[in-house]
Structure formats: structure tokens, C-alpha cells
């Protein structure tokens, strides 16, 4: 895949996804994961085990912050800024300031996806999900895992429809926060 095409294709999929095309959004996330794996893998070669955890954390926060992407901006810049932000956070927690001298801020276009397969992440996202309060965990389980509609979930859980939507939104935000907190805890252990 040549790189300018990667930017064009990813951007098209994201914009379609933001307009409500779920299949396009799923493909966007899949391709994005490949790019992130390559981008972070190159910069975290000292800690290969951390790569997939960070890929997942980036996917989660990019999903939560997707409203901050504006179509007038190169998607590469948006993706790399967030990946770099999370990478520096990780390296800081590791006290590995030397690694910050690596060319973190090269703004080359989205690189081709990594050849390596996705490893399982070490962190147990399902475990983190279980730690959320019921009014966030239940809507996520029903809508995002079982694929029920908001209306069905509201009937099933006794929550209002807006409470279901708010629960998903807040739950995913809380999940991202716990991701970061868990990482900082591990690195201090």
C-alpha cells in the first residue's frame, strides 16, 4: 500500500464512519490498528510486549476523541499526535527519557501496516470492564458486545434511553482512564 493512498483511504473510511456507516468505521479501526502497530513498534522496540497494549489504548482514546477530528486536517497529523501523546506518557512512566530522543515527531505519512500479527494485549480489558459501575457496564455489554439496540437495552435494564447512551459514553471514557492508570501502576511496581 503506498502511503498517500493509505491517508486517503483511511480518511474516507473515518468520515463515512462518523456519518454513521458502521462497516466503514470497523474497517477504519482495523486499518488504523495496523498503522499504529507499525508506528509504535518502531518506537518501542525495547518493549515489544507494550506495543499491543498501547495500540489498544490508542484505539480506545481515538474512538472517544473522534469528534476532535476535522476534515480540513490531514488524518496522519491527528493520528500521530495522539499516538505520540500516549507514547510519551508511557515512556515517561517508564522513566525512559532516552527513548524520547528517537525521532518521535517525524510527520511522515501513515506507514504501511506492520507485517507482524497482532499479539494479544497483556492487559485484560474485559477485567477493566467488569470494574465499571453497573450503569456504565450494562449498557456497554448490551449494546457494544451483544449488539442490542439502545431501545432494547433500555427495556432490558430499566434505564432510560438517554441513560443508556450516557452510560456507554462515560463507560468508554472511564475505561480509557483506567487503561492509563493501570499502566502507570504497573510501571511503578
Amino acid at each position: 500500500m503506498s502511503t498517500p493512498d493509505a491517508e486517503t483511504e483511511l480518511r474516507r473510511l473515518l468520515l463515512a464512519g462518523l456519518d454513521g456507516d458502521e462497516a466503514a468505521y470497523r474497517r477504519f479501526l482495523q486499518q488504523l490498528a495496523g498503522h499504529l502497530r507499525a508506528y509504535l513498534g518502531r518506537r518501542l522496540f525495547g518493549w515489544p510486549d507494550d506495543v499491543e497494549d498501547l495500540v489498544q489504548e490508542c484505539l480506545l482514546v481515538m474512538h472517544n476523541k473522534r469528534h476532535t477530528y476535522q476534515p480540513d486536517q490531514p488524518l496522519t497529523a491527528w493520528v500521530h499526535a495522539i499516538a505520540r501523546y500516549k507514547l510519551i506518557d508511557l515512556l515517561r512512566a517508564r522513566g525512559a527519557r532516552d527513548a524520547l530522543h528517537d525521532p518521535l515527531d517525524d510527520d511522515s505519512p501513515l506507514a504501511a501496516a506492520s507485517q507482524q500479527d497482532a499479539h494479544d494485549a497483556q492487559r485484560d480489558l474485559m477485567g477493566l470492564l467488569q470494574s465499571l459501575p453497573d450503569k456504565q457496564r450494562r449498557p456497554i455489554e448490551c449494546v457494544k458486545i451483544e449488539g442490542l439496540s439502545v431501545v432494547e437495552t433500555a427495556r432490558l435494564t430499566g434505564l432510560s434511553e438517554s441513560a443508556v447512551k450516557v452510560g456507554i459514553h462515560r463507560g468508554l471514557k472511564a475505561l480509557a482512564a483506567r487503561f492509563g492508570a493501570a499502566r502507570r501502576l504497573e510501571s511503578h511496581a
Partner: protein
């Protein structure tokens, strides 16, 4: 958990995502914060006792306009920094321009004034409280602006916090001008600028602490 499972979770019923215009949330938040600032000035300080004659004085408009320009430019910078991968842009130069103009006017007034009157132009009657009053009046706007930035995704936290501080400081100083009895440009050049600098420092300190995500 496999990454593909996470992707499935995120994509399932993700729905359409509203994309508000850049800065819309910040503008809304700042308007709410401004109401708080206005309330502090009107209730706690009172309008300038020479209202409305003061509306005819150029100095009043400089005290209002210079900080307002600072707030406007800082708001543009803050809304840009709230988006990952977007540079601070050139609006920061507007802040520099506002400072250069007020310092230029102040220097002119200082140099043309007879020496015995210079102290009054610089110190006025309220120099002790001015900067702290502006900081206090800026606080509602600072809280509101930081709250709006938290909903976005700033990646340069100290800079974004400082921009929110400059936005709040400019807004606070402009609102304080409704009360402020001083008429010397040197007074504004020193004490208003100091009053705006304090929220900037506060914002830069708060940024990495409250904007982290």
C-alpha cells in the same frame, strides 16, 4: 483481550458522531464563565462611578479593547491546541500586538507628561489590588475554558493551559475595566498586563494536572 475484539466493541452501533465546529464548545463555555465574571464585578465591585460618562473616554476603550483582543487571540490558540496535530497558529501574534500597542501608548503618555504627574499615571489609586482583582474575576472563565478543553484532546497540556489562562486573563481584565477608575495608560501597561499574566501562569501550572487524558 484481542485487538479485534476491542475493534468490534468500539465499532458496534457506534452511530453517527456529531462534529461540532472548532471552538464552538469553548465559546459556549467562555460565555457562561463571563456571566460569572460580570456577576463578581457588578455585585462585588460595582460599576465605575463615572458611568456612563466614562464611555466617552478613549482610555476606557483601551482598557476594554486591549484585554479583549488578548482574550480573542488566546481563544483561537486554545481552540487550535484542543485538536491533536494542529499547531498553535499565528493568532498568538495578536497578543503580542495588543501588548506592543498598550506599551507604546503608555510610553508616549509617560514621556509627554510633566514629571510630577508620572507617578499618578503609573501607580494610580488601585495598583495594589488591580492584578489580584483581575485574576479573581478571570477565575470563572478559566474554570470554564479548562472544562471545555478537557472535552477535547489537547496534547500540549502546559501550552493549552497557558492559552486558557490568557483567554481568562484577557476576559477578566476587560470585565474589570467596567469598574476600574484608573485613567493612566502606564497603569494599564503594567498592572493590567500583570493581572493577565497571573492567570496565564495559573493555567500553565494547571494544564498538565487537569487536562491530562
Amino acid at each position: 483481550m484481542k485487538t479485534d475484539d476491542l475493534i468490534a466493541l468500539l465499532a458496534t452501533r457506534a452511530g453517527a458522531e456529531r462534529r461540532p465546529a472548532t471552538g464552538a464548545a469553548l465559546v459556549r463555555a467562555v460565555c457562561v464563565g463571563l456571566l460569572g465574571s460580570l456577576a463578581i464585578v457588578l455585585v462585588g465591585y460595582g460599576l465605575n462611578h463615572r458611568f456612563p460618562q466614562v464611555l466617552g473616554m478613549p482610555m476606557f476603550w483601551m482598557k476594554l479593547g486591549m484585554p479583549a483582543l488578548v482574550a480573542l487571540c488566546a481563544g483561537v490558540v486554545a481552540s487550535r491546541l484542543a485538536r491533536p496535530g494542529v499547531s498553535a497558529g499565528r493568532a498568538g501574534w495578536g497578543i503580542a500586538l495588543a501588548l506592543v500597542v498598550v506599551w507604546g501608548v503608555a510610553a508616549g503618555q509617560w514621556l509627554t507628561a510633566p514629571p510630577p504627574e508620572r507617578a499618578e499615571l503609573l501607580w494610580g489609586q488601585t495598583w495594589r489590588s488591580c492584578a489580584f482583582s483581575i485574576t479573581l474575576i478571570a477565575l470563572p472563565v478559566l474554570v470554564a475554558a479548562l472544562g471545555a478543553l478537557r472535552e477535547m484532546a489537547p496534547t500540549r497540556l502546559r501550552l493549552a493551559g497557558a492559552a486558557a489562562g490568557a483567554l481568562a486573563g484577557g476576559a477578566g481584565a476587560a470585565v474589570y475595566a467596567l469598574h476600574c477608575p484608573e485613567l493612566g495608560a502606564p497603569f494599564v501597561a503594567v498592572w493590567y498586563v500583570l493581572g493577565m499574566a497571573l492567570p496565564v501562569a495559573l493555567g500553565a501550572w494547571l494544564g498538565p494536572r487537569v487536562l491530562r487524558w
